[in-house]
C-alpha cells in the first residue's frame, strides 16, 4: 500500500493513529460478485429475510408513530412498507440475483439506481424528491442485510478510526465511543451531530474528507491529524513517530490544565463569571461535573428524539431522562432547550415533502408551534420535573425565536399545560423560568422587547453568525466568511448584552464563540458573565479568564468595536493578546 493524503476540515482537535473501519450509510455502489448456481436460493433467502426484517421494523415504527402523532404520521411508514414489498423492487432484486447470478447487494444497488434515475428524470421537484423514500427503504434493507455492523464494532478488541461517508445522528448516538480513536467523515460540518459528539468526548474528528471511504478501504493504517484536518493513509514510520509525539504533547498539555477543575472562574481583578456546560448526551454530565461547571447552560433535547427515532419520545421518556439529568446536576441550574430539529427527517415526515430551504423553514420553535402535540408532551415533562426541585433549577429555553409573538404563544401553551397538569393532580409551580435563544438577527435587534417577556436570553452564535452573515459554514465556497469576529456580529452581541443589563435579566452565550480563546476576552469586556460550552472546553476558558483582567478586557472590547472588518478585529486581537496567549500557552 502506498501513502496517500486527503485533506478536510478539523472539527475536534487531536491525533488518531489506527486501523480504519469504513462505515458507509448510503447505499453504495456494491461490488458485483458472481455466485454459483447452488448459492442462488440461499442468496435470495437471505435477501428475503432482510426485507422481512425491515418490514417488521417499519411496522413497529408505524405503530408507535400512529400512537404518538396520529394516523397521518404513521402513513409514511406505510408507504415505506409498500415500497419494500413492491414486486417492482424486491421482486426485481430476486430476479436479478437469479438471472445474473450475482450477490444481493449488487442486485439491490442496480434496482435502486434504476429507480432513482427514473425519479430524477421526472424533473418536477416533488416528484424527484420521492427518490428519498426509495433510498431510505433501500438503506434499511441493506443495513439489515449486512447484519449487525454496530454490534461488531462494539466487540472489537482494539480501538479503530471510523471513516464514514456520513453518520446520521441516530447512528452516531449508538456508537461504542470507547472503541473509537477518531472520526474522518466525508460530509458533515462544524455543528453536525457527529462533530458535537466527537468534541464532547475529546475524540479527534475531521469532516469534508472527500473520498476517504474509498481510499481507506484498502489502507491498513491511517493517521488522522484533526488539528490540520488531514487524513494520511498508510503513513510511513517517520510520520507515525511524528504523529505519536504530537499526540503525546497535546495530551500532556491537556493534563496540565487539570488543576483548574476546582478553581473559581474569576478574572484577575475579581469579576466573577460562570462557566456552564452544553451537553447532548447523558454521559456528558460526567465531564461537566468533573470540570465543576456552574450548571447546564444548554441541554440539547434532540438526543431524546434521535434515540427514539424514527418515533417520537413519550412523556415518560422525557420525564425519566430529565429527572436523571437534574438529579445529578442539582442544585445547579439546568437549562433544557426544547426540540430544535426540523429541516430534514422529522420535518419531512410531518410536512410530507422536503422543504426547498430547510434552514429558513419549519424548524425550532416554529415546528413546535405548528405541531404542538409533541411540544406539549415535552412541556408536560419539563413542568413536572420543575415541580420536583426548588424554583429556578429547571429552566426552559426555546430555539429559533424570531420575535415576541413566539414567546407569547409558548407562555400561553405553558400556562395551559400547567393547568392541565394541576387538574391531573400534579403540583406545578408558577413561574418556571422561560428563556429564548437569540440566534435569528431579528431576535437580537428586538432583544430589549424580548427581554421584557422572558426570564433569560441565551445567544446561540452558531446560528446567529450563519443568519446574520448569510453564510453556510459547511459550504466551502463561502465558509471563510463565517467569522465570529465580524463587526456586525459583535454589535448584535453587544445589543443583546445591553438589553439584558437594561431589563435586568440574565444573558448567556451558548455558541462555539463562547469558548473561542480569541473571542473570550472581547465577550468578557462586553459584559458577558455566563459562558456555556462543551465541557471539554471549560479548563482552557477558565484558565484564560483567571489570567485576564476585566478592566483590560473592557478596553479590548471597546477598541474591537471601533474596527470595521472581521480581519481588522482578528489582527487587533492577535496582536493585542499575543503575549497573553503565549504566557498561558494557548495556540490561536
Amino acid at each position: 500500500m502506498s501513502r496517500l493524503e486527503i485533506s478536510g476540515i478539523g472539527v475536534s482537535p487531536g491525533i488518531a493513529i489506527g486501523e480504519p473501519v469504513v462505515y458507509e450509510t448510503r447505499p453504495v455502489a456494491a461490488l458485483r460478485l458472481p455466485i454459483e448456481d447452488n448459492e442462488i436460493d440461499r442468496e435470495i433467502e437471505a435477501f428475503r429475510r432482510a426485507v422481512e426484517g425491515t418490514v417488521e421494523r417499519i411496522e413497529e415504527n408505524a405503530e408507535r408513530a400512529r400512537a404518538d402523532m396520529g394516523e397521518e404520521y404513521g402513513s409514511i411508514f406505510d408507504a415505506h412498507k409498500l415500497i419494500a414489498l413492491d414486486p417492482g423492487f424486491s421482486g426485481k432484486v430476486e430476479e436479478l440475483i437469479r438471472t445474473e447470478k450475482v450477490n444481493a447487494e449488487w442486485a439491490l444497488d442496480q434496482v435502486v439506481s434504476e429507480l432513482i434515475s427514473r425519479f430524477e428524470n421526472l424533473g418536477d421537484l416533488y416528484l424527484a424528491d420521492r427518490k428519498l423514500d426509495v433510498l431510505d427503504v433501500a438503506a434499511q434493507i441493506l443495513q439489515t442485510f449486512r447484519g449487525q455492523d454496530l454490534h461488531r464494532l462494539a466487540e472489537l478488541d482494539s480501538p479503530v478510526v471510523i471513516v464514514a461517508d456520513d453518520l446520521p445522528p441516530s447512528l452516531a448516538v449508538q456508537l461504542p465511543l470507547d472503541k473509537i480513536l477518531g472520526f474522518a467523515l466525508e460530509t458533515g460540518g462544524m455543528t453536525s451531530h457527529t462533530t458535537i459528539i466527537a468534541r464532547s468526548f475529546g475524540i479527534p474528528a475531521a469532516v469534508g474528507v472527500r473520498g476517504a471511504c474509498e481510499a481507506a478501504r484498502s489502507a491498513r493504517l491511517i493517521a488522522l491529524d484533526a488539528f490540520e484536518g488531514k487524513l494520511v493513509l498508510d503513513p510511513d514510520q517517520v510520520e507515525i513517530n511524528e504523529y505519536r509525539s504530537r499526540r503525546r504533547e497535546y495530551e500532556e498539555q491537556q493534563a496540565q490544565l487539570d488543576h483548574v477543575r476546582n478553581l473559581a472562574t474569576v478574572t484577575r481583578d475579581g469579576r466573577k463569571l460562570e462557566l456552564l456546560a452544553n451537553i447532548d448526551l447523558p454521559m456528558e454530565v460526567e465531564s461537566a461535573l468533573h470540570w465543576n461547571v456552574d450548571g447546564i447552560g444548554l441541554y440539547r433535547s434532540e438526543f431524546l428524539y434521535m434515540k427514539a427515532s424514527p418515533l417520537l419520545p413519550s412523556e415518560s421518556d422525557h420525564l425519566e431522562f430529565y429527572r436523571e439529568l437534574v438529579r445529578r446536576m442539582a442544585p445547579r441550574p439546568v437549562t433544557i432547550r426544547t426540540f430544535d430539529l426540523g429541516g430534514k427527517k422529522l420535518a419531512r415526515d410531518v410536512i410530507g415533502s422536503p422543504e426547498a430551504n430547510p434552514v429558513l423553514g419549519l424548524r425550532g420553535i416554529r415546528l413546535c408551534l405548528a405541531k404542538p402535540g409533541f411540544f406539549i408532551t415535552q412541556l408536560r415533562a419539563l413542568l413536572r420535573v420543575a415541580g420536583e426541585y426548588p424554583p429556578g433549577t429547571v429552566r426552559i429555553m426555546i430555539p429559533l425565536v424570531s420575535g415576541v409573538e413566539e414567546i407569547r404563544i409558548t407562555r400561553h401553551l405553558l400556562r395551559q399545560t400547567a393547568e392541565e397538569l394541576r387538574r391531573e393532580g400534579h403540583s406545578i409551580p408558577e413561574g418556571v423560568p422561560l428563556g429564548a435563544m437569540v440566534e435569528v438577527p431579528s431576535a437580537a435587534i428586538l432583544s430589549r422587547e424580548l427581554a421584557r417577556e422572558v426570564d433569560f436570553l441565551s445567544i446561540g452564535t452558531n446560528d446567529l453568525i450563519q443568519y446574520a452573515l448569510a453564510v453556510d459554514r459547511a459550504n466551502d465556497l463561502v465558509s471563510d466568511l463565517y467569522r465570529a469576529s465580524h463587526p456586525g456580529l459583535l454589535r448584535l452581541v453587544k445589543k443583546v448584552l445591553d438589553a439584558g443589563e437594561a431589563e435586568g435579566i440574565e444573558v448567556s452565550m451558548c455558541g462555539e464563540t463562547a469558548a473561542d480563546p480569541l473571542m473570550v476576552p472581547v465577550l468578557v469586556g462586553l459584559g458577558l458573565r455566563k459562558f456555556s460550552m462543551n465541557p471539554q472546553a471549560v479548563p482552557v476558558v477558565r484558565n484564560l479568564i483567571r489570567h485576564l483582567s476585566y478592566r483590560e478586557a473592557s478596553q479590548i472590547a471597546r477598541q474591537a468595536l471601533q474596527l470595521v472588518t472581521a480581519r481588522e478585529v482578528e489582527e487587533y486581537l492577535l496582536e493585542r493578546l499575543a503575549i497573553f496567549f503565549a504566557k498561558i500557552k494557548i495556540r490561536v
Binding site: S75, Y126, S353
Partner: protein, 89 residues
C-alpha cells in the same frame, strides 16, 4: 373494462403517502387497476409504479379497471382521487 379520467387536485400530487392509500384501496379488489397519464400507464397495486408516474397537481389521469368487481373498484378509485386522498389541500 371501465375507463374514467380524473384530475389530481391535491397540492402535493401523487406523493408517497397518497400513493400508499391508492395501493391499499386497489388491493381491496380482484380487478386489475391501472392509472395512466398521456405518457404511460402503471399498475395501481404497485407503489413504485405510482411514484414514477409524473402526476402532479393539475394533471389528469386515466383510471382503468378490468375484472369481476371493476365497477366497485372504479368508484372507490374515483372517490379517493376526488377526496384529495384525504388531504386538506
Amino acid at each position: 373494462m371501465r375507463k374514467e379520467t380524473v384530475p389530481i387536485i391535491n397540492k402535493l400530487g401523487l406523493h408517497a403517502r397518497a400513493a400508499a392509500k391508492v395501493v391499499h384501496a386497489a388491493n381491496q379488489y380482484d380487478s386489475e387497476i391501472f392509472i395512466g397519464t398521456d405518457d404511460e400507464e402503471v399498475n395501481a397495486k404497485s407503489i413504485l409504479g405510482l411514484l414514477t408516474l409524473a402526476a402532479t397537481q393539475g394533471t389528469s389521469v386515466q383510471i382503468r379497471t378490468d375484472g369481476q368487481d371493476e365497477e366497485e373498484a372504479m368508484s372507490a378509485m374515483v372517490a379517493l382521487f376526488k377526496n384529495r386522498f384525504g388531504e386538506d389541500e
